[in-house]
């Protein structure tokens, strides 16, 4: 059955009310109802990370998170990180290291790295590799990603 409920969302410090199926994944609410398109649909299975957003400080996969569970929580997308004039240190490092190729996965890598480094920027190579191992990049930009995350970790330490 099609049921719609009014759900209040806070995304990038803006408040929104949306009327949607509460079981619908948060990703579709962010992209289609709010018009915030940084998070991407990659798999709908929480296997690739392209849809990653930060909810109350934790990186989550918005493609499998019901929109109802975001009610009353603080959601951050890549749009909420930095601006061209003042990018987040992780974005700055990703630009300096010229990371993306197709770039479709990049929001997920950036958001997961932000959540990781904001919790603890004192991470070594092996910890970074382990922490990011559930993300996919098909273009094979991993070498640049690892360089960028290490650079960002230094900047945020």
């Amino acid at each position: 059955m099609e049921t719609k409920e009014r759900i209040s969302l806070n995304v990038n410090n803006d408040s929104y009310d949306v009327e949607v199926d509460p079981a619908m994944p948060l990703l579709y609410a962010i992209r289609n109802e709010l018009g915030i398109t940084g998070p991407k649909f990659g798999c709908g299975l929480a296997q690739c990370g392209a849809c990653t957003v930060i909810m109350d400080g934790r990186a989550i996969r918005s493609c499998t998170t019901p929109v109802s569970s975001a009610q009353g929580r603080q959601v951050r997308t890549i749009e909420g990180l930095g601006t061209p004039e003042n990018p987040h240190p992780v974005q700055q490092a990703f630009i300096e290291e010229q990371v993306p190729q197709c770039g479709y996965c990049i929001s997920g890598w950036v958001m997961t790295s932000v959540a990781l480094l904001e919790r603890n920027p004192d991470v070594n190579d092996s910890e970074i590799r382990q922490s990011l191992s559930s993300l996919k990049c098909r273009c094979g930009t991993h070498m640049s990603i690892l360089r960028a995350v290490k650079k960002a970790a230094k900047a945020m330490a």
Binding site: E2, G103, L132
Partner: protein, 776 residues
């Protein structure tokens, strides 16, 4: 909430405001102004013989380059901007590149075979040079200074001895048009070229070409300001999903409307064997596609057991064959150049019968999926007067042709706009999405956005073809090669073509009555070993299913390069072992092309290659075994050698390619930074294909339908280092880099595993199970 599409390109507005938008291709020359005495205010028709089709200079002096190819993050657009800026003598920052919008670019073939710079840059370079020549002529008249006494600095033409006597490009042409003809070679696609009266600069005059300029597209992608095709939103747009059969090849016999009665604003669309749903809301489209009860005809299981794949290839009679590769023929007078391949093979076999020793091996390569980061997406606004398609396809000009055909419209009433998609490594699922969206949009008379679900991206994208490659060679008593035969047998690389220009090359076309046209093509090695009595040929077998199939085969990055060179470069290593030689020395003994020789030497030197035979058979204290492997191959004028250093865990079977050393020669280097990252990407993707990737299927369908059933490389698989030696050859026109460093990777790893363990892996991927099995 609805939002207008936010992909408006300011350049487009600029052009619209300064002249009429006319979309016409290939007007006869007689209809186009032949000469120019000054700029014109109206834009000449878009045609390859018009200077204005490639370069536009605004009133502010900013330059727009119109590029009929695209870039998917390998820096081609940045390289084009460098080339155009250098020819025009304008700052790099003043050049923008507009790619693959059919309303503004001529058909240069789209993304294709690493030709973005090799072929695609030529007409742009020529056009920029011609624009500069004309502007200097005009400036000479306007300033009353002879041409020889003028110079251009940052887009300002000035008297050499009196810089205050000057005029800018912007003042001379200022948003108007050159209206000047160029000498077009009459070709469309990769071979399109056009030249004006001006000669482009010589490499010694370059200031911007060769510089490691940061890529134009990077900040937008990292700051989430780059709209992707998935982000295109058009007023009144509905969302579509196509429903694929559970058994490949089955046709829908009906559906139960009641199964989706609970969903509002949803419609089922069936056109012959094509069945899909559209909904006002994307979530409802997804729900409808999964809820809709479709009945399918009972068909025989179309596929063999997967375990039987390689035997199926071996025993199935071939339907096409060719010596010398897909695009070339053997040199006259060599084996296979004339007569039948069977006769040529008999000749080699006679040589081998007299050999002191015969070495023979077979190499197996599975189907592989593009497995792009997102399932393909397209938006089509089908309208009898003017249809627009937003596509991530590499070849938007061809997408436009295919959409026009499937909608039965004149091609000039269709506009194809390329927008970055979720990955692009050849003929992926993007072309299918565009055709699906076109049918659905026409059916409901509204713009339709379609994006498949993950299982469609993996399950139904065109695949890289599976093959079995047999290589044999004869050695004389002195261990010299006296005969060599390379025989690739597999599925065609052109089961569907690399474009969707013909609807029969798309799923939607095949499902709506466009007859399948399998063409046959495979490949042979691209190397310069001089073996006497050398024969190289391919043979192809028919597809399992002569209709819309999840195992359709088509171009996937470096088409057949990985398969072919996994075999040829593994075999060369096997010959080195049998003859008791160091693998690098063995290669150097037979290589003939000086550029090939120099990359092999450069890679070995940088890697600190120690001369010895393989295997090494030394175990580390931690139980790990380490080894090194070399592989080399060329592609389209680019030559690459690499050394892989691996760590093999004999207990778990895990292989870690810890370091690569690459020597890369693609002629003149346009941007060394972009080039290095392109090479890194090729190596990681190829490493993933070598170690992990295999499309699985059962008797009914493809069963690799997500990232768990089709794993790819992850951060824990990534090397510690990829050390790259770039060999710059300014005297040689730039060739490609988007694929050429892909084809060596599987063999380099296999050769390194052999060096480490003495076990020879002859089937891709080298999964832990297979490595353990080989070590047992």
């Amino acid at each position: 909430m609805t939002k207008q599409a936010n992909f408006t390109i300011t350049r487009r507005q600029l052009i619209k405001s300064s002249g009429a938008l006319v979309v016409t291709c290939g007007l006869p020359n007689s209809l186009v102004a032949q000469t120019s005495n000054g700029p014109s205010s109206s834009k000449p028709p878009l045609s390859p013989d018009q200077l204005d089709s490639y370069v536009h200079i605004g009133a502010d002096g900013k330059v727009t380059a119109f590029f009929g190819k695209m870039d998917m993050g390998q820096g081609v657009d940045t390289a084009i901007a460098q080339i155009v800026a250098d020819e025009l003598d304008v700052p790099f920052e003043h050049v923008e590149v507009l790619m693959s919008d059919t309303a503004y670019t001529v058909d240069q073939g789209g993304g294709s075979g690493s030709t973005g710079i090799r072929s695609g840059a030529r007409p742009l370079r020529n056009a920029a040079a011609e624009a500069r020549r004309i502007l200097i002529n005009w400036a000479s008249e306007s300033l009353d200074v002879p041409i020889k006494d003028l110079q251009v600095i940052d887009g300002i033409i000035q008297a050499k001895n009196n810089p205050s006597k000057n005029i800018s490009y912007g003042e001379l042409i200022g948003g108007r048009y050159f209206n000047v003809n160029m000498d077009w070679n009459g070709n469309y696609g990769n071979s399109l070229n056009a030249k004006g009266a001006a000669n482009p600069k010589t490499p010694d005059q370059y200031k911007i070409v060769g510089q490691p300029i940061p890529r134009l597209d990077v900040p937008g992608k990292v700051l989430a300001q780059t709209p992707y095709v998935t982000d295109v939103k058009i007023d009144g747009m509905w969302h579509g999903r196509v429903i694929r059969p559970p058994v490949a090849g089955a046709k829908p016999t009906g559906y139960d409307q009641k199964s989706i009665d609970d969903l509002s604003d949803v419609q089922v669309i069936q056109i012959k064997d094509f069945i899909g749903v559209v909904a006002k809301d994307e979530w409802n489209a997804i729900r409808a596609a999964s809820q809709l009860k479709v009945s399918w005809e009972k068909v025989q299981s179309p596929f063999p057991e997967m375990d039987d794949l390689y035997n199926h290839i071996r025993r199935t009679p071939h339907v096409a064959e060719r010596a010398g590769g897909g695009f070339g023929r053997p040199e006259p007078g060599t084996l296979g150049a004339s007569g039948s391949i069977a006769d040529a093979e008999t000749k080699v076999d006679k040589v081998l019968a007299g050999a002191a020793k015969v070495v023979e091996a077979e190499y197996e390569h599975p189907f592989q999926s593009h497995a792009c980061m997102g399932p393909a997406c397209a938006v089509v606004d089908a309208n009898p007067d003017q249809t627009t398609v937003w596509t991530g396809s590499q070849k938007s000009h061809k997408t436009r042709e295919g959409v026009a055909r499937i909608l039965d419209m004149p091609v000039d009433k269709v506009r194809g706009i390329w927008v970055p998609g979720p990955g692009s490594y050849g003929r992926n699922d993007a072309g299918d999405a565009a055709m699906d969206a076109a049918l659905l949009s026409k059916a409901i008379g509204k713009p339709v956005r379609i994006q498949g679900m993950r299982h469609e991206g993996h399950g139904w994208d065109p695949k890289g073809p599976a093959s079995v490659i047999n290589v044999k060679a004869g050695l004389d008593a002195n261990n010299q090669v006296i005969g060599y035969c390379f025989n690739a047998k597999g599925f065609s690389a052109w089961d569907i073509r690399s474009t969707e220009a013909d609807p029969s090359d798309s799923l939607a076309g095949l499902l709506t009555g466009w007859p399948k046209k399998t063409r046959h093509n495979y490949g042979t090695p691209s190397e310069s070993y001089k073996f006497p009595n050398k024969l190289e040929f391919w043979r192809t077998i028919p597809p399992f299913l002569e209709t819309a199939s999840p195992l359709r085969t088509a171009h996937f990055r470096d088409p057949q390069g990985p398969q072919v060179h996994f075999a040829s470069e593994s075999f060369v290593d096997e010959l080195a072992t049998v003859t008791g030689q160091d693998p690098v020395e063995f290669r150097l003994q037979y290589l003939t092309d000086p550029r090939d020789i120099s990359v092999v030497k450069a890679a070995a030197k940088e890697a600190g290659w120690e001369s010895r035979t393989s295997p090494k058979r030394e175990q580390q204290n931690n139980g790990l075994r380490t080894g090194r492997g070399m592989a080399y191959a060329s592609r389209g004028g680019t030559t690459v050698a690499m050394v892989a250093e691996v760590e093999v865990n004999p207990t778990s079977g895990q292989v870690w390619a810890k370091r690569f050393v690459v020597a890369h020669d693609c002629g003149l280097i346009i941007n060394p930074d972009g080039l290095k990252r392109t090479i890194e990407g090729n190596i990681i993707q190829a490493l993933s294909r070598a170690l992990r990737e295999e499309v699985k299927f059962d008797r009914n369908n493809v069963t690799s339908v997500d990232w768990q059933t089709y794993p790819i490389a992850q951060t824990t698989d990534i090397p510690e280092a990829i050390d790259i030696v770039l060999i710059n050859r300014p005297e040689i026109d730039p060739t490609g880099a988007g694929e050429p460093s892909t084809r060596q990777v599987a063999a380099a790893i296999a050769n390194a595993i052999f060096d480490a363990t003495g076990a020879r892996l002859r089937r891709v991927p080298f999964t832990p199970e297979r490595v353990k099995e080989a070590l047992a």
